[in-house]
């Protein structure tokens, strides 16, 4: 079989195919979506999800799981809509402190050899608590820069398309191609081997968590730009969405198998899956369940492909 037709290539392509199929479905249901304006409306809320997904992917790359990313994104939005507007210097410091805190948590997880899943679960309460303290009732106001930035109308394609492309490219370069990305994925594949080669797992974990913090901050700020004001509960669902997106992108929870491009496509797919339902007319009772069916269908497609691969 020629190389470009190989099964693993098809597997890599799957997230893109799924996204294309979903877009086709939406365009079929609602031709109006097939326009600059339509794509913008469909996809602009995927920008923060893309960032949150990449943050999650960094953590999953080293076999950890981050149950706090949603709460962290909310916290960033709350800080952004209050401190950052009223006292920009303090606001920036607060955001930097958040990133540093993320790094510290990474250090704690490594140093005490803790299961990331509960540490980040606890952490999510910390972020949420801080968010409620910073912004007890929803409100505040996004810095004008942010709201204008996310509403930029570049030529040819709407902003989310550019963001997705650039982020996917950078993620691919950093994680899949760069020499540091190899060490990162190696740390997920066989941490002991990486440690025995003289790398510091502590340094790796701290940088991975801090990077997740940076990406989470970007997610929070872009979300804030889109919504124009904050809310302590605004992004709690990003935790599960980001996990689902990473997996949809072809990654596994363990073993350092992560794919940045797939993750970005996965994030867009999940954003669109919900929209697809709004375009189809489903009885309100089953609307919630239908989202479950879509998730199942998308992933079942992947299973089918693997099945074919095995039997052929």
């Amino acid at each position: 079989m020629p190389r470009f037709l190989s099964w693993s290539a098809a597997e890599r392509l799957l997230p893109a195919l799924t996204l294309a199929a979903l877009l086709a479905g939406i365009f079929h249901q609602q031709p109006r979506a097939m326009s600059y304006f339509g794509l913008d409306l469909l996809l602009n809320l995927s920008i923060p999800i893309i960032f949150a997904t990449l943050a999650q992917m960094m953590i999953i790359a080293i076999n950890d799981l981050d149950l706090s990313i949603g709460a962290f994104v909310s916290l960033v939005a709350c800080i952004g809509s209050t401190l950052l507007t009223t006292e920009p210097v303090l606001g920036v410091l607060a955001l930097l402190a958040g990133i540093a805190a993320y790094g510290l948590v990474g250090a704690l997880v490594e140093w005490r050899r803790l299961p990331s899943i509960v540490v980040t679960l606890g952490l999510s309460f910390v972020w949420l608590g801080l968010a409620v303290i910073v912004l007890p009732t929803p409100g505040g106001r996004a810095p004008a820069v942010l709201s204008t930035l996310v509403r930029v109308k570049p030529p040819f394609a709407p902003l989310p398309v550019y963001v997705a492309a650039v982020v996917a490219l950078l993620g691919w370069l950093a994680v899949s191609r760069s020499s540091m990305g190899v060490v990162l994925r190696g740390a997920g594949g066989n941490p002991r081997s990486v440690a025995r080669a003289g790398w510091s797992m502590l340094a790796i974990r701290v940088s991975v968590y801090a990077t997740a913090g940076v990406l989470g901050t970007l997610a929070g700020l872009s979300l804030l730009g889109l919504t124009t004001s904050g809310d302590a509960n605004i992004a709690s669902r990003y935790t599960l969405v980001s996990i689902a997106s990473v997996i949809l992108g072809g990654a596994s929870f363990t073993g350092g198998r992560v794919f940045p491009v797939g993750a970005v496509l996965g994030a867009m797919t999940l954003t669109l899956a919900a929209s697809f339902l709004t375009f189809m007319r489903i009885s309100p009772d089953w609307q919630i369940g239908a989202q479950g069916f879509i998730l199942i269908a998308v992933l079942a497609l992947r299973a089918l492909l693997t099945r074919w691969k095995e039997t052929s």
């Binding site: 609602q30 409620v132 889109l226 509960n233 669902r237």
Partner: protein, 315 residues
């Protein structure tokens, strides 16, 4: 203008409790009739899978694409949807928010005065001559409604030297959570004379008092059928007195008619206040009779009711 060919959508963020189910049902009943009567072309309801502002914002953006003429919203957050609502307004769509309202200036707001709902409770306790310790059962932390009601209660208590809040828990507007939280804090509290609540949590609170073997205080209720029938039972057995108040789920139908009127070109104020639905010692039996088992005391509005109410408002 003629609204016969116009489409109105309901954007809802949560369906997982009896209030929301009643709200959706009222919407369906009233809009079905309206569609049959040729008032509007269609009026579907959409619910997001998770109670999340971001998901609802995406949903609203999709509705813009779908070309709805008006969108009625029960908002997950008063502020987080503002971006999407702004886009809708820019696209010439009429946006009406109710219950969970949105602060975006271009949207219409139909709300009950939640602060007043808080203050009303303290006023009632005062009118009963209750003095002493108050337990407050709050809603979901960080949500706008919780804060509003809480502020109303707090302001009322501050103005009254005889009442003191000795404990406060978050019941998340859920009977089981309220029951658990109250049961937890109760042993650490001195005698409690009254409980201020937010709706959907009164029955759980009563259960917790019962399980702890404490005397049932005056618990302000939130119009749920289980709360009312419990009250009826207590009333018949011991002459128990209290009061119950909440926003009617049928406010969605009010919002529907407002949207319809706006589409028809009527000028309406940006902010409208709905009366709080109150159940008192006297009309308890009557209200209970009209409340579906396991549901919430409801009021469904007809177009004429809305006109009447709005006329009253304008005065």
């Amino acid at each position: 203008a003629e609204t016969k060919d116009m489409k109105i959508a309901l954007s809802n963020n949560f369906a997982g409790n009896s209030w929301r189910q009643a709200m959706l049902k009222s919407w369906e009943t009233v809009t079905k009739q309206a569609v049959a009567d040729g008032v509007v072309a269609e009026a579907p309801a959409f619910t997001t899978s998770e109670n999340q502002a971001t998901e609802q914002a995406a949903q609203i953006q999709n509705m813009i694409l779908q070309g709805y003429n008006a969108i009625v919203i029960d908002a997950a957050s008063p502020t987080a949807l503002n971006g999407a609502i702004r886009q809708a307004c820019d696209a010439g769509i009429v946006v009406v928010t109710f219950d969970g309202i949105a602060t975006e200036p271009c949207a219409y707001r139909i709300a009950v005065d939640f602060k007043k709902l808080g203050g009303m409770q303290v006023d009632y306790f005062k009118s009963r001559g209750i003095k002493g310790n108050l337990l407050e059962v709050r809603g979901l932390a960080g949500v706008f409604v919780d804060d509003e009601i809480h502020d109303g209660i707090e302001a009322g208590v501050k103005a009254d030297p005889d009442l003191k809040i000795v404990g406060s828990v978050h019941g998340n507007w859920t009977q089981t959570v309220a029951q658990k939280e109250v049961a937890g804090i109760l042993p650490t509290l001195p005698d409690v004379a009254a409980v201020a609540t937010q709706g959907g949590d009164g029955f759980g609170t009563a259960q917790a008092f019962k399980d702890a073997g404490r005397k049932t205080p005056v618990i302000f209720l939130g119009n749920r059928e289980d709360e009312l029938s419990w009250w009826k039972q207590q009333k018949d057995a011991t002459g128990y007195q209290t009061m119950s108040a909440s926003i009617a789920p049928g406010s969605s139908t009010f919002a529907f008619w407002v949207a319809k009127k706006l589409l028809a070109g009527e000028k309406l104020p940006q902010d409208m206040v709905l009366p709080i639905t109150v159940v008192t010692q006297d009309n308890l039996e009557d209200q209970l009779k009209h409340t579906e088992k396991g549901s919430v005391t409801n009021v469904e509005y007809k177009e004429a009711d809305v006109s009447g109410l709005l006329a009253g408002l304008k005065k």
